[in-house]
């Protein structure tokens, strides 16, 4: 048996891993997961319907690639991924507080930051597991409508989309984790952020779109659909390096601020 150093908290990585294992099962097998899995799989259903319809009407105007691009940009990046991040990440600590189980974690010799790290890691694994397969299945369902001849050329775009989806979940997740540790009721502000801030500011001229995460995420998508509405942002595709810097920065700042708040606040007042 290895001797434990009882003068210090359990090492960060070991503690975070322990919290991750405790959190993961509860996060995966939850009602929230059923709802979010259904939401993220909607494009798969749409892709299947498209296949069936296209088989009957070969002269359809919307190409499979075009539809796929629209689903990635409009459905996943603008709607489903931010919403998934909102409902999981704001609940990371709130669920433990409401369920009164936070006490068990707070009365262990571990730093509070490791609790947050473990929970966030569980969030990332859960949401990636739900979202990425849905994107992949949508892609293959649509791109094989006319056979597999053009599939090879589009696969790099799929890989890029998967990377952007992962970045979206990380960046929105960090932001909503911050909301969750800061506010007692973070869902309404989060919804306003997704459906007001992220939806309308990208349509503003000049530098205004740069205060949204959407601007950077959509700039990273290569196969933008031909028509994206009135959004000005599509006229200004931001450099990839800048996008990565900003998105990674959002993750670091969001998680850093969340860790600081969580480690200094009291959370068991009502228990």
């Amino acid at each position: 048996m290895a001797a434990r150093d009882t003068s210090k908290p359990v090492p960060f990585a070991s503690a975070a891993r322990g919290v991750f294992d405790l959190a993961l099962e509860g996060m995966v097998w939850s009602g929230r997961t059923v709802v979010m899995a259904g939401l993220l799989a909607l494009p798969v259903v749409l892709a299947i319907v498209y296949r069936l319809v296209l088989a009957k009407y070969p002269a359809a105007r919307l190409s499979p690639l075009d539809l796929y691009g629209r689903l990635v940009v409009f459905f996943y990046l603008r709607f489903a991924l931010p919403l998934t991040a909102l409902f999981y990440a704001t609940a990371l600590i709130a669920d433990e507080v409401e369920g009164k189980t936070l006490t068990y974690l707070l009365t262990r010799p571990i730093r509070r930051e490791s609790i947050l790290a473990g929970k966030f890691a569980a969030y990332v694994v859960t949401t990636l597991t739900l979202a990425l397969p849905a994107v992949v299945v949508t892609f293959f369902t649509l791109m094989t409508v006319s056979g597999r001849a053009n599939l090879g050329g589009a696969v790099p775009d799929l890989l890029r989309d998967l990377g952007v989806a992962a970045l979206a979940l990380l960046a929105y997740g960090a932001l909503f984790t911050l909301l969750g540790v800061f506010l007692k009721r973070p869902v309404i502000p989060g919804l306003l952020f997704i459906f007001v801030w992220e939806l309308f500011l990208p349509s503003f001229p000049g530098y205004v779109p740069r205060v949204t995460l959407t601007a950077y995420l959509r700039s990273l998508v290569r196969h933008r659909p031909a028509q994206e509405g009135v959004s000005e942002i599509f006229a200004q595709v931001l450099p990839t390096a800048l996008c990565l810097e900003v998105l990674v920065g959002a993750v670091v700042v969001g998680l850093g601020a969340s860790a600081w708040i969580f480690s200094t606040r009291e959370y068991v007042m009502d228990q």
Binding site: M1, A2, R4, T6, S7, K8, P9, V10, S14, A15, G18, V19, D21, L22, E25, G26, W29, G99, K100, T101, T103, Y104, L105, L106, T107, R108, P109, I110, R111, R112, E266, V268, M269, Q271
Partner: protein, 306 residues
Amino acid sequence: MSATLEFVRASRWYGQVIALNDVTTTIGPGVTGLLGPNGAGKSTFLKLASGQLAPSQGEVKMLGRAAWGSPELFHRVGVCPEADAFWEQLTGLEFVTGLLRLTGYDEAERRQRAENALHEVALLDAKDRKIGGYSKGMRQRVKMAQALAHDPEVLLLDEPVSGMDPVNRRRMVDLVRRLGRAGRTVVVSSHILHEVEAMTRRVLLIHNGRILAEGDVREIRDLMDEHPHTVALRARDPRALARVVVAMPHVISLTFGAEGEWVTVQTARPDELYGNLAEAAESAGVSEMYSPDENLESVFRYLVAG
């Protein structure tokens, strides 16, 4: 007595509400009962002691360190919270081993320790069942197991026997007493006097956020015995009983219950009442007797008013 836990002029308020008010006390090895009615401040006291809350004013020290912001203390401290809250999808064994992992034990040791702790609370047979399917008493015991499993020097137990059946309550009381005898510092909160009395004679009386008294539980009993005491008696012939009782000089009042069989007596000297009752009880056919004053709330009302 060496101080394991020390409160120095510690206060805690939530907004305008004072939960704990200027508390100074030290607690050392052995079992200490934290006794008070619901809402007295017992849970706040334990949350301050376990560093889950910071004092608004004053100091709270556990094992010589500030309780707030010292997570390393939990290598040596075990906490059994009051709330009936769990990750319901886990089995009892997974729950205890998962928390032992966060205490830094390797896989083999955490399994061994978890099984020992579950055995200690008589849950070993149910270790592979999900906590969601446990009875109230089993849930209470698995909560106790996670507090014990890392063999801590200090145990903070918030209403640990609440919801347990008499057999397991007895077992838990014995366990707490054993831990106290082994030199552990055990702080047990309860709002039931006889529950605490079964575990220890050292108590802290807490009421409205203040430590009202601390010392031997017998002194509390003495205080109880001096305050007007109510006894309810069920008799075959309540009128005969009333005739005897009302003649006793220490009896303050007597009332008949609505159902006709019950007589409620208020006395200034409960010991004399109990002594004098033997003869009357036989002639009037007393079949049941209880004291509503066993409720702590009435003791506190009396002490505070006095």
